[in-house]
């Protein structure tokens, strides 16, 4: 069997996916970043410093919560990995602390980032404030409208937020704009990419920075389950960073890995091979090769691509990718809130929605044990929830 979720090949490939499809102008920056990451990741001093910030700043390890009420109702054992409890309200801080430390180590003075729901933008603005770096966050105009709270948070943290008016005015276009800025500012600027997407080394590096989710959960779950590992590990997938970090902790076990995509942004489930934002992966596109505009209630999953490693895991059958609809997501947010007292992000609610639907069916038989990564909290979504649940 193919060994997966290790280092990609030297040209940044996960099977047939990945690579480094960027303009020549950016190649030296990508090579320098790869070298810096390799060095730092092998340096115990860097690991120690990152670990310190994770514990004393980001609030790690995050809790593992047994969702006892829902478990009883669904006839399964549901354990929640609580990334919603991490500082800034989502798993994004894990990656950003790593990249900000790396940027500082490389002598960069400015971070740029793309953001959809604003969670990665907030995390980037946070790390920039902490480490005395400047930050510019690119955000689609449409997302700025529906995530006003996070825009204000970024401003409060001292970041500049640039509205992106091209294309679908969402995450895809924000990513284009961040890459354009990176080309012109590569001397002093680090592109703090928020997902396991983009050119090599990003998919690998971001997965490594998010691996902490899966590694913590592995240990925590072992204390809860007599079997040691759960039957199923489930997480939502947009670009796929929280899922990649979670899966990395369980890929060498018998656990089934399930990634839940938005029905309107399901690149693994409905995409075709293509090149977007610097890597070859599965991409929603028309027959002419024009990239489609995703449609999801969750701005963070409103993305027509997916990280190349997910395309590989899906192709190999090591992970399964499923979709849920916006309506199922709204029901899931309410049910988790009412039963467990946890208001999760619309993105994370995709994973919950799948569990609600699958429990008791052949997909997730009664008695199954499930680890679900709750990637973020729902505070940012109140405006949309007030609309959607009215």
């Amino acid at each position: 069997m193919t060994v997966v979720m290790r280092e990609p090949t030297t040209d940044g490939r996960f099977g047939e996916y990945g690579g480094r499809y960027v303009p020549e102008s950016l190649i030296p920056a990508c090579l320098a970043l790869e070298e810096a990451f390799r060095e730092a990741w092998a340096d115990p001093g860097f690991r120690q410093e990152l670990d310190g910030y994770r514990r004393t700043y980001a609030g790690r390890p995050t809790a593992l919560t047994a969702a006892r009420n829902l478990s009883a109702e669904l006839g399964i054992t549901l354990l929640l990995k609580r990334e919603d409890l991490a500082h800034t309200g989502s798993h994004k801080i894990n990656n950003v602390l790593g990249q900000a430390l790396l940027a500082r180590r490389m002598g960069k003075t400015r971070l740029i980032a793309e953001t959809g729901a604003g969670q990665h933008g907030v995390a980037t603005a946070t790390a920039a404030a902490l480490f005395g770096l400047r930050a510019t966050v690119y955000m689609g105009e449409r997302d700025i409208e529906r995530q006003a709270l996070n825009v204000f948070r970024m401003h409060l943290l001292g970041a500049e937020v640039v509205p992106v008016t091209s294309g679908s005015r969402t995450l895809k276009d924000a990513t284009n704009e961040a890459m354009r800025n990176w080309v012109s500012a590569v001397g002093d600027t680090h592109f703090c990419l928020g997902s396991v997407a983009g050119p090599h080394p990003y998919p690998w590096m971001v997965r490594e920075f998010q691996r902490v989710i899966g590694e913590e959960a592995r240990g925590q779950v072992a204390g809860e389950l007599s079997t040691g590992v759960p039957d199923v590990v489930v997480a939502c997938v947009g670009g796929g960073s929280n899922a990649a970090g979670t899966f990395a902790g369980f890929v060498d076990t018998t656990a089934r890995l399930v990634g839940v995509e938005a029905a309107g942004g399901a690149a693994v489930s409905g995409g075709e091979p293509g090149v977007l934002h610097g890597s070859r992966s599965l991409v929603l596109q028309d027959r002419h090769g024009q990239v489609a505009e995703a449609q999801s209630i969750a701005a963070g999953l409103d993305y027509p691509g997916v990280g190349p490693e997910h395309a590989q895991l899906g192709g190999l059958g090591r992970a399964t990718y499923v979709t849920v609809t916006d309506d199922e997501v709204l029901v899931a947010v309410r049910r988790l809130a009412e039963r467990e007292g946890i208001i999760c992000a619309l993105e994370s609610a995709h994973a919950v929605a799948w569990v609600l639907r699958a429990a008791g069916t052949v997909e997730l038989p009664a008695g199954s044990t499930v680890l679900l990564t709750l990637s973020g909290r729902g505070d940012k979504d109140m405006g949309q929830l007030m609309e959607g649940l009215r």
């Binding site: 960027v22 020549e24 102008s25 030296p28 294309g167 895809k172 354009r180 090149v275 934002h277 610097g278």
Partner: protein, 267 residues
Amino acid sequence: MTTTLSAALPLTGRPLLVPYVTGGITADWTELLLACQDGGADAIEVGLPFSDPMLDGPTIQEASDRALARGATVESILADLAATPLRVPVVVMTYANIVLRIGLPALAAAGVSGLIVPDLPLEESAATEAAAAAAGIDLVLLAAPSTPDDRLREICARSRGFVYAISVMGTTGERARLADSAATLAARLKAVTDLPVLIGFGVSTPAQAVEAGRAGDGAVIASVLMRRVLDGATANELAADVAAYRTALDLGVSPGTPHAEISGHRG
């Protein structure tokens, strides 16, 4: 008719002029190609619009969006191209996703002579280089101001037709002056290649084109022309614009200048 780039772009000391047109930007966009030819183009770069043009500034983005919004597809653009009788060769510029989808034979069938793919660096271009060679298309590689010397040599060794010198660290788009990095990069390239070195990205006036012709072997003129078309310029007006670049390039560098001598040495 397919003309090889090397035949169409001789290094005689006369600076080369390659205007750019976004395919499908207007209903009668092939008239714009004829206008470029009439204006004195040595070759014409045709952009196949892509939904996510990572290396393009606002003008080419707008031109691409307009073409796609009009309903232009890669297929329709190639069909238009095949039906347009041009004496000068066409170099297609588009992104990797489009190239991987349509394949090189479709470009060759439309009479395309060359191809530029800005998000296909050396690491990713081998398969496309082979497919282009098999289809009789010159794959033109790009060099950037940030490219180190060893890569520059490899780019020159593997590029076909000409080498595209990206004038500045940035995206395409009109600029007030030609960046100093343009001349520096062109000189570094000319030290290691006999291929024509064309400077592009932001060459926005005939005077800047003359500079590019002195530093390298000519210029690609893109955003400034598409801005004119987006603002409603007719084919005749575009032909006049292109002719102004042609005249400036021809007058700006005359035989006997150091540039021509350098060209002569290269044989």
